[in-house]
């Protein structure tokens, strides 16, 4: 479904963060990228959603290379990223925030209206707080709204950047079930997660990233059981950090 081939990327004039990343995300799977701080996990997502232009390599969606396309073009192809944090627009209401998810399809009013109603059904929070400003939401509620916003386009691929960040256990569990429900409708999910156990417990496959390269790929369950994993994270090898 999505194949990363020899992906090299970095910011500004600084060195490369990703130094040749190769892995594939199977259609309809949940894949979780794990790795220590600064391994380049978020950078993979940024190149995939178009925020960052790759220096080398390809990102194939099916057979089309989407590396270097604008975020709008990638959104139209059905690939949506949920931002890490501060992604909501605090001066707008919850409803407006969610509706903005369909920005690239803004001409299709009827469809957007119907889709919003569907989403408000799935997430009761959206319906309850529709007219409140996003600034009034708690951290967990914001995540939910960000997640719901990403669904406005009926995406085929959802990219989640550290979904558990700042969430309490209850909110984490809710989020996990939302992700699984989404996946059961056939959506491919690529997650980046610092909290390894949480991320892998949702996922089918795991990808271990370190120092801008893929160290290891396998089934998520195997990875969780792997005793080396504990060492890798509690051992915390840190090589490079994002600027």
């Amino acid at each position: 479904m999505i194949t990363f081939k020899g992906l090299v990327a970095g910011y500004g004039r600084a060195g490369d963060i990703l130094r040749g990343v190769d892995f594939a995300v199977a259609e309809g799977s949940i894949t979780c990228i794990v790795g220590p701080n600064g391994a380049g996990k978020s950078t993979v997502l940024k190149t995939c959603s178009g925020l960052l232009r790759p220096r080398k390599g390809q990102i194939l969606l099916g057979s089309q290379d989407i590396g270097g396309l604008t975020p709008a073009a990638i959104l139209r192809l059905g690939v949506v990223q949920v931002p890490q944090h501060h992604g909501l627009f605090p001066t707008l209401t919850v409803r407006e925030n969610v509706q903005l998810g369909a920005y690239v399809n803004r001409r299709q009013r009827e469809r957007n209206r119907a889709r919003y109603e569907e989403i408000a059904q799935i997430f009761p929070l959206i319906a309850e707080r529709a007219n409140d400003r996003a600034a009034s939401l708690s951290g967990g509620q914001r995540r939910t709204v960000e997640f719901a916003r990403a669904l406005m386009l009926n995406p085929g691929v959802v990219l989640l950047d550290e979904p558990s960040l700042g969430l309490d256990p209850k909110a984490c569990r809710q989020l996990a079930s939302s992700v699984k429900a989404l996946n059961q409708q056939g959506v491919t999910v690529l997650i980046v997660e610092q909290n390894v156990r949480f991320g892998l417990s949702m996922a089918d496959n795991g990808v271990v990233l370190e120092g801008g390269r893929v160290l290891h790929t396998s089934g998520a369950a195997e990875l969780l059981a792997d005793p080396d994993m504990g060492a890798l994270f509690f051992g915390g090898t840190t090589r490079e950090t994002q600027p």
Binding site: G87, L88, F89
Partner: protein, 294 residues
């Protein structure tokens, strides 16, 4: 007593127009944190445009808003791409100095085209008033205030309820968040800047009826705009309406009870006092760059 009420009435009417005049500068600041010092020159330029159109076609000058606002939108759009975007990427302070340069250029061009003599647009109702009891409502002020409030309401609705307006707000609050939903932040910034200049365009048409103007009026009006947004709170649109009315009242009270000459000093005094005592203004959030989120 009547004199006081009359002064207050006058202040509120003028405040409506001031609100519109300041809203453009405030919008641009809110979206891209650039104070457009050329906004005053754009305002007077629009007043001159109104004057020439009024002379040429003899339409009601207040209706000419429909021409000046779109024309100034184009001017603002071109200014953004030619100057502001480049300056913005180097340093926000440089962007400000650039707009200062643009203000001088515009002022000079106006003097070349229209001369340094005082101009005024004087429709038939310019000197008429409605009378209610012992109170006078100058017609020009009343109509201009109504038009200003209508345009402000339209601007507010545009920002609040349309895709463009929401993308402007989105780009202002979270650039990456906006890009992730496909908003082209650069185009949106250009549109916001142009919209700000268009608001000055509309304001210019109105002020051309209310006040005589020369190219040098630019400085007075830029001071007025700055004082309004500083008082109201930088970046807050409701704040600038409140600021506008308060400044207008302070001006008319000063003119009535102290001396008309000193009324022009009010905006500058307000700027300095507000920034000394309450830098965030009446309705603004604190402007402290070191207090950004950790």
């Amino acid at each position: 007593m009547t004199e006081l009420v009359q002064t207050l009435v006058f202040g509120v009417l003028v405040g409506g127009v001031y609100s519109l005049v300041a809203s453009g500068m405030n919008l641009v600041f809110g979206v891209m944190k650039v104070v457009n010092l050329a906004q005053g020159a754009m305002l007077i330029l629009s007043a001159y445009l109104t004057y020439s159109l009024w002379k040429a076609v003899d339409l009601d000058p207040l209706l000419l808003v429909l021409v000046t606002a779109p024309s100034m939108y184009v001017v603002g759009w071109a200014t953004y791409y030619l100057f502001i975007e480049r300056a913005r990427t180097t340093d926000p302070a440089m962007a400000l100095v650039t707009t200062f340069g643009l203000a001088l250029i515009t002022k000079g061009i106006m003097a070349l085209l229209w001369g340094n003599d005082q101009h005024a647009v004087t429709p038939a109702y310019a000197n008429r008033s409605f009378t209610l009891g012992s109170l006078h409502f100058p017609q020009a002020q009343l109509y201009a205030c109504l038009v200003a409030v209508a345009i402000l309401a339209g601007l507010y609705a545009l920002l609040r309820y349309t895709w463009l307006g929401q993308s402007v707000q989105a780009a202002a609050s979270s650039s990456d968040g906006a890009r992730l939903i496909g908003i082209e932040v650069r185009k949106v910034r250009a549109a916001a800047f142009a919209l700000g200049v268009a608001a000055a365009g509309a304001g210019g048409a109105l002020l051309s009826v209310l006040y005589p103007f020369t190219p040098s009026s630019t400085d007075h009006w830029i001071g007025l705009m700055l004082s309004i947004i500083v008082l109201g709170g930088m970046g807050s649109l409701p704040g600038s309406v409140l600021g506008a009315v308060l400044i207008a009242l302070a001006e008319s009270l000063t003119a009535a009870y102290i001396a008309p000459d000193w009324a022009t000093a009010v905006p500058y005094l307000v700027i300095i006092l507000v920034l000394l005592a309450r830098p965030q203004g009446l309705m603004g959030i604190r402007l402290r760059e070191d207090m950004s989120r950790a």
